[in-house]
């Protein structure tokens, strides 16, 4: 047991830091660190920069243009990027569809789609949830009927994240209505410009249109855009959701938010003293820092030593649950540290120049509202507990 980074990993981390110091644009960094709202342009621009310098997909195999880093190095990359104020990398192409294409896609599909995911040219979104199919995803009803060399797709998707910017959507559809729910599903890749697709924003509780409803009406999709075999889509969907674990805990983002919380609490005053000197607040701050420390080392355990870890299946679920809970706890403390000022709601802090020097505090209430999603999406925390329970109890 040696919980220090290896010399190789230290060297890797230093290369990441050096790259971020010179190549992360100051304006993007400013927007991320001040907690202002998501900018699609920043995400595209940053992915392009990463790609140009060979950092486009540290977790991808070299044969597909990735850096083929170890899980620990992937973790370090995410951590350093988050702390430095880099925008997120879109998971839909890089972490979800990419690995599915590598595993189940045809060589033609791989050559067509993977390079454009890596470079950021294609923005992918996910067509999974439906009004009647959330946690019970296999009950989805969107149909795809084959007609010659095309499928004709009809149905409705919802809770589609950032689809308003997307060039493509990977979509679960029902291709056999007579089989058991899980056996009649296929995975199709659909060009968002195809006639018959309507995207309608859903305004969330923080006032932003982060997700969409997507209506598909007689949308014609070439059969060649199906992943793998017909009616095997459930297998691919599960692979897709279970694949990513290096960053599922979101340690980097939570560490960044913890630092933001300490800065804010040092600046805000309550009862004549800085909030950070309030004994009750300090104990809660200490507790969340301890929880984050435990999650960080649980994450590292699971990435580096399968021998001393719970099995990979439950590891991802534990990290997802605790990662979301801690991030939410931090967002609560940020709102509390703000006190009465948290009532002044700014749904669009980007435009709120008056608060520009205020370390993004104008957006903290909106962030608290927005982050309730963390314990709901990607398999709700209750579903994650069901998954863990299957391994733990095995009934």
């Amino acid at each position: 047991m040696d919980l220090n980074l290896s010399p190789d990993d230290v060297a890797f981390r230093d290369r990441v830091r050096a790259f971020l110091a010179t190549e992360l644009p100051a304006d993007i960094r400013e927007r991320t660190l001040s907690g202002t709202r998501f900018e699609a342009g920043d995400v595209r621009r940053w992915q392009r920069i990463l790609h140009d310098h060979g950092w486009g997909a540290v977790h991808w195999p070299a044969e597909f243009g990735g850096l083929q880093s170890t899980p620990i190095q992937q973790y370090l990359f995410e951590l350093e990027c988050a702390l430095a104020g880099a925008p997120i990398q879109l998971a839909f192409g890089l972490r979800m569809l990419g690995p599915v294409l590598m595993r189940y896609g045809s060589p033609v599909q791989q050559q067509r789609f993977l390079p454009r995911i890596l470079s950021g040219e294609d923005w992918w979104c996910q067509g999974y949830s439906e009004p009647g199919a959330g946690s019970d995803l296999a009950s989805l009803k969107t149909t795809a009927v084959q007609n010659g060399d095309h499928y004709v797709v009809n149905g409705q998707k919802c809770w589609n994240t950032l689809g308003q910017f997307a060039d493509w959507i990977f979509c679960l559809v029902r291709t056999d209505g007579t089989a058991k729910p899980q056996r009649g599903i296929s995975l199709l890749l659909i060009d968002m410009k195809t006639p018959g697709i309507t995207v309608r924003p859903t305004v969330l509780l923080d006032g932003t249109p982060e997700v969409n409803e997507i209506w598909l009406q007689d949308v014609r999709v070439p059969v060649e855009n199906r992943i793998g075999e017909e009616n095997q889509g459930w297998t691919y969907a599960k692979f897709l959701l279970g694949h990513e674990r290096a960053n599922i805990a979101g340690i980097g983002a939570s560490k960044r938010e913890l630092l933001r919380l300490k800065r804010l609490a040092a600046r805000q005053r309550r009862g004549g003293q800085p909030v950070i000197d309030d004994p009750d607040f300090r104990r809660r701050l200490a507790r969340v820092e301890i929880d984050l420390l435990a999650l960080e080392y649980t994450n590292l355990r699971m990435l580096s030593a399968p021998a001393n870890s719970p099995s990979a299946g439950i590891a991802a679920s534990i990290l997802k649950i605790r990662g979301s809970e801690i991030r939410q706890a931090l967002s609560e403390l940020l709102v509390e540290a703000l006190g009465t000022a948290a009532l002044r709601f700014a749904a669009h802090p980007v435009a709120d120049a008056a608060d520009a020097e205020d370390d993004g505090s104008a957006g903290l209430t909106a962030a608290y509202l927005n982050l309730r999603k963390l314990s709901i999406f990607g398999g709700s925390n209750e579903i994650q507990k069901n998954i863990i329970s299957q391994t733990l109890i095995g009934l």
Binding site: M1, L3, I72, A286, R301, A307, N308, I318, N386, I393
Partner: protein, 374 residues
């Protein structure tokens, strides 16, 4: 970064577990608890033969000079088996006190015997992190030696110890022990009021009424830093012990709910119970991660880093001990409150682990005082 154990460490773990499985079943333990001594001298001898008591004795003093991981693994098994023998008291706390602070003569005199199990020692110190220290033992020096007075309640294994290492304040730093003195059992003025602890271990309230010791009985000089390090090491071993007890508590509970039938099937099929057990698992895994971190920090020369890691571990271990212990009893239903079923014994061990070496609150306080600004 590497969380794996070496082959030798895996072997150590296997040996310890095999010993507990063969020699320390529920009935055997019950027999030991009911015995006059309250521990098994035979088991103690076997633990020595297995080398466990030599782990914390430096190689130069005839021991194994093992690192924190070995102490952690054996402590975990001590917790799994609910051993009541003085591994933590004698083989960790007292042994490390002598190894850290002792003179060459003191080390040569006692450490080989501690390693061989021929001598049992214990550290007399109320390790209460954040306690007032008003009950600390005072040491008054004069030409002839030292005179020790004071009282420490509930010192584990004090009544069966041949040697008591008494932490005392010489007055140079009021309230805080800055010296350690070796006091043999039976010394005039040494009064022990025996008791049994809630987790079934033997202990005693130790009172010293003007106990006279010679100058040579002092173990080391200014002992403040050394004692802090030793006590943190004991805290680390206690946390590891709790992880072992927590693992068995959860496994026992899962097994019980799978075999207990109500409403026509095992109660483990109910989601309310499944999610509770998942919550127990998650608490244990988070606590375990910090105990691993503590293993890599408990030898740190940097006191701040060590204290932060150890206190963080104790906060999560203590909270897990309470939550997992209580829920295990709850999920066992009526069986959970029976003395005849192992789970209530784990519950009591976990309660003791929560209380000993400072509560969750005390350690959250110590961590909070060391919060970094950035």
């Amino acid at each position: 970064m590497d969380f794996s154990f070496t082959d030798e460490q895996e072997l150590l773990l296997d040996n310890a577990r095999r010993f507990v499985a063969e020699r320390y079943g529920f009935a055997a333990r019950k027999h030991i608890l009911a015995s006059a001594d309250g521990y098994s001298a035979a088991v103690w001898k076997e633990l020595a033969d297995l080398g466990f008591l030599a782990l914390n004795v430096p190689e130069a003093d005839g021991g194994l000079g093992a690192g924190p991981v070995e102490t952690m693994l054996v402590s975990m098994v001590v917790g799994e088996g609910l051993l009541v023998e003085p591994f933590l008291s004698s083989a960790v706390l007292a042994t490390r006190t002598l190894a850290t602070l002792g003179s060459a003569e003191q080390r040569a005199r006692w450490l080989p015997k501690l390693a061989g199990g021929e001598l049992i020692a214990t550290l007399v110190l109320e390790a209460g992190y954040g306690r007032d220290g008003h009950d600390a033992i005072r040491a008054a020096g004069d030409a002839g030696g030292w005179e020790l007075s004071g009282r420490v309640p509930v010192v584990y294994h004090a009544g069966i110890a041949d040697l008591l290492l008494v932490a005392a304040s010489t007055g140079a730093t009021p309230g805080e022990p800055d010296a350690v003195f070796a006091v043999p059992a039976g010394a005039p003025g040494l009064h022990l009021a025996s008791c049994t602890t809630v987790d079934g271990q033997v202990a005693a309230d130790v009172e010293l009424r003007g106990v006279r010791v010679e100058k040579s009985a002092r173990v080391g000089g200014d002992a403040r830093l050394g004692l802090a390090a030793v006590v943190d090491y004991g805290l680390f071993a206690l946390c590891a012990e709790a992880i072992g007890a927590l693992d068995r508590t959860l496994a026992t509970t899962v097994e019980y709910t799978k075999t207990r039938n109500q409403f026509g099937g095992p109660i483990a099929r109910f989601q309310a119970l499944q999610h509770r057990m998942v919550d127990m698992l998650m608490r244990i895994e988070q606590a375990r991660s910090l105990v691993y971190l503590a293993a890599s920090r408990c030898d740190d020369a940097d006191g701040e880093e060590r204290e932060r890691a150890l206190s963080a571990a104790k906060v999560l271990v203590a909270d897990a001990a309470r939550f997992v212990g209580q829920q295990a009893v709850q999920l066992h239903g009526g069986m959970g409150v029976s003395d005849e079923v192992a789970i209530s014994h784990y519950f009591k061990r976990l309660l003791a682990a929560e209380i000993r070496f400072g509560s969750s609150d005390a350690h959250l306080g110590r961590y909070e005082r060391r919060l970094s600004a950035g």
